[in-house]
């Protein structure tokens, strides 16, 4: 193997092994910052050593053993005051099987509960999770969030400081604490996914790296927390949405609406996986949570052969159920769209008129955009044009702005009969 090849291989191994490594080390040294440093040290040692000796047979186990040695040395050298840690250091097996033990799964789960702790802002959590649980470099994270590398680095440093100051424990929350804590984990993963799926600003519409990492992490979470229906709900939702990622934009990078996408190009493998994840969520029972409901809505689209054959009545009902859990006007807006598809644009318009007075929708570009859509269907093109123009002014996304401006132009080109 040539030197650059070895480096690339080590990079890949780091991506695969570092989350487990850091999780395990955090368990031993009880400090996530220190754990990351030790893991990085082990990586540097590996780079030096493997350049000379070539790759070991089991690089993951090699890294883990080297890192654990360091951690235990450190604990001994610091003459650990806490007896508990000292005992832990004595009893930690040095040679680990590389395979995925339940113990490692639990440590990963503890780590994700830590990086997504509600004491941190969601941005900080996302950056920290991408670095510690997805093995991304600060540079990669910065690039995917269209932020400066220094900003991300600082965000992570501050997050670690906050965790230390608030003495956030390395544990899986239990009892009543579990549900809200799990929600914040799912929120961070979905934030990562969405940030990748629809860039809220800038000219780039999709940033697949973030989607892929969020989806991968979701799949990992589904294995280490298999009893949680909402975890499967979120995975299902992401699988469905990602199945459409390639049909969302045209060659010029302009967005294509769901109703205009080429369904034959949707990724059937991901649709099947989405369906299976939703089924897993359903089988666990209970009232479906917000992610499972959104996944069910996504399933209606994914499994329908065409826009006309979509079960819009069911979608409207699912949005209604979602509204009871997430009473947001945006959910209502979506319900209005489903209702207009099921019962005609006039009924949808009525709902929108009621919604228009809602203060939180005042500057939300999708409201005029949907209104424009329905007005076109009602043949009221002049009014539709004004709505599209208004929506174009409100959106932050350059591509979407172009799309809306084009729709406005089309309205004047093609007057109502």
């Amino acid at each position: 193997m040539s030197l650059p090849q070895i480096h690339r291989t080590i990079e890949a191994i780091w991506k695969m092994e570092s989350p487990k490594l850091i999780a395990r080390l955090t368990h031993i040294v009880k400090d996530v910052s220190l754990a990351e440093d030790i893991a990085q040290d082990a990586l540097v040692t590996a780079l030096e050593k493997w350049e000379q000796t070539g790759m070991p047979e089991n690089p993951g186990a090699w890294l883990m053993t080297t890192a654990k040695h360091r951690a235990i040395d450190l604990l001994r050298r610091n003459k650990v005051q806490d007896q508990k840690y000292a005992a832990l250091a004595e009893n930690t097996a040095l040679f680990t099987e590389e395979s995925f033990s339940e113990e490692i799964g639990d440590d990963l789960l503890r780590l994700i509960f830590m990086t997504c702790h509600p004491a941190l802002s969601q941005d900080a959590s996302a950056a920290m999770t991408l670095r510690l649980l997805c093995g991304l470099t600060t540079k990669e994270i910065a690039r995917s969030f269209l932020t400066a590398e220094a900003t991300i680095a600082q965000r992570i440093v501050r997050a670690k400081k906050t965790l230390k100051e608030k003495k956030v424990p390395f544990e899986i929350p239990a009892g009543e604490e579990l549900k809200p804590r799990l929600s914040s984990v799912l929120e961070v993963i979905y934030l990562m996914f969405n940030e990748g799926y629809t860039a809220t600003s800038g000219s780039q519409w999709t940033r697949p790296l973030l989607c892929r990492e969020a989806l991968r992490l979701g799949r990992v979470l589904a294995e280490i927390a298999p009893e949680e229906p909402e975890v499967h709900g979120l995975v299902s939702l992401m699988e469905f949405q990602f199945s459409r990622v390639h049909t969302r934009v045209n060659k010029n990078g302009e967005p294509i609406l769901l109703t205009d996408q080429k369904r034959s190009q949707w990724d059937q493998l991901l649709i099947r996986r989405g369906t299976a994840a939703l089924e897993r969520s359903r089988k666990l029972g209970g009232t479906p949570g917000p992610y499972a409901l959104q996944a069910s809505i996504s399933a209606c689209h994914a499994l329908a052969p065409s826009v006309q054959e979509t079960d819009w009545t069911r979608i409207a009902a699912l949005y209604e159920a979602l509204f009871t859990l997430l009473p947001s006007p945006i959910v209502e807006l979506n319900r209005a769209v489903a209702i207009s598809m099921a019962f005609g644009p006039a009924v949808g318009m009525q709902m929108l008129d009621e919604l228009s007075t809602h203060p939180s929708l005042k500057n939300y570009h999708l409201l005029p955009s949907v209104r424009g859509d329905l007005l076109v269907k009602l043949g009221r093109n002049k009014e539709a044009r004004l709505e599209f123009e208004r929506a174009a002014l409100l959106t932050q996304n350059e591509r979407e702005k172009t799309l809306l401006q084009n729709r406005a132009k089309e309205c004047s080109k093609d007057p109502a009969p």
């Binding site: 291989t9 992490l217 990992v220």
Partner: protein, 141 residues
């Protein structure tokens, strides 16, 4: 990026001989690892070619010939596949290296093939060029 890890057929797999319990266990453990790392998309084992059908087109634009198995060129046949989603070629190789020797008696062979992504097909310079040429042509008409 997606890779397909293709397990080649062996005399045993073609004879319909099931792997040893140890190998089955090792494969299960390996698959579980793939699942827990969030990289496994799909995978299956295939029946021996005595149950297979081959459709070939010996003449350009001609009629297909249909031949029933078994087929004999063991090394070119496949016995199973595992589809994974990873972030680099190196990661795919690393995962493939961790797969247990699928035969265990000297014939085991795994082939790694990268799967085309839709953007590979639509962004293919040749195709794009052809399309651009076609558009020009249409404009002139």
């Amino acid at each position: 990026m997606r890779f397909m890890m293709i397990v080649k057929a062996t005399t045993d797999s073609e004879a319909g001989k099931l792997p040893s319990p140890e190998l089955i266990e090792a494969m299960q453990k390996y698959n579980e690892e793939l699942v827990k790392a969030g990289v496994l998309l799909a995978g299956d084992g295939l029946q021996p070619t005595k149950n297979s059908i081959r459709i070939s087109y010996p003449e350009p634009n001609g009629k297909p010939t249909v031949v029933d198995g078994p087929f004999t060129e063991t090394k070119e046949l496949i016995a199973g596949y595992t589809l994974i989603e990873v972030s680099s070629r190196e990661e795919a190789v690393e995962w493939a290296m961790r797969m247990p020797d699928p035969h265990g008696a000297g014939q085991g062979q795994i082939e790694l093939r990268q799967v085309f992504e839709p953007e590979d097909l639509t962004d293919h310079p040749d195709l794009l060029e052809k399309e651009a040429a076609l558009r020009e042509e249409l404009k002139d008409r």
